[in-house]
Amino acid sequence: GESVGLHLPTLSVQEGDNSIINCAYSNSASDYFIWYKQESGKGPQFIIDIRSNMDKRQGQRVTVLLNKTVKHLSLQIAATQPGDSAVYFCAREAYPGFQKLVFGTGTRLLVSP
């Protein structure tokens, strides 16, 4: 979720597996959610977004699911590849203002060949 921590949760998968990364949020006023990928030493890179009037959105190999009832967001990566290894952050647009993103703690995805 949005707690701060020095130890990232880690998901280890084999190449070709499907990966599911989860995120919980606490502020029900948020209208817009985004998943970012961050490779070592680089800036966050946009993957996919979803607005609160949707519960599912698909991209290329990625799907985001939003469950507003339990305030839960997930990112599904199909046929995970070694190049998918990175830290994945969920983020929400903050209310009020809608001019800033609040990031979650992040999950490290390790893909082994």
Binding site: K42, G43, F46, A94, L101
Partner: protein
């Protein structure tokens, strides 16, 4: 593909010194941001800037911090008197409109000794 560029990539400074981090946002973007990421932690919002003024700032962005868009292309973050706890990766980001994808730069790593 257009990108946000940041300089320097790494700066080492002594405590109490002034630091200026520079960013060139994507050329047709109107909304500009600075975020920071302390090593191993989540990305945190610092400030947003639109129409030549700060639109929102976080508690981190105290009077030691300032931002400026001195010309049509650069967007700078100044820290007047650096502290040890300012050591972090600083990310510049921009987006075209009030909604839509936020593009991040590669970051400037600041080390305060």
């Amino acid at each position: 593909e257009p990108e946000v560029t940041q300089t320097p990539s790494h700066q080492v400074t002594q405590m109490g010194q002034e630091v200026i981090l520079r960013c060139v946002p994507i050329s047709n973007h109107l909304y500009f941001y600075w975020y920071r990421q302390i090593l191993g932690q989540k990305v945190e919002f610092l400030v947003s800037f639109y129409n030549n003024e700060i639109s929102e700032k976080s508690e981190i962005f105290d009077d030691q911090f300032s931002v400026e868009r001195p010309d049509g292309s650069n967007f700078t973050l100044k820290i007047r008197s650096t502290k040890l706890e300012d050591s972090a990766m600083y990310f510049c980001a921009s987006k075209q409109g009030s909604t839509g994808e936020l593009f991040f730069g590669e970051g400037s790593r600041l080390t305060v000794l």
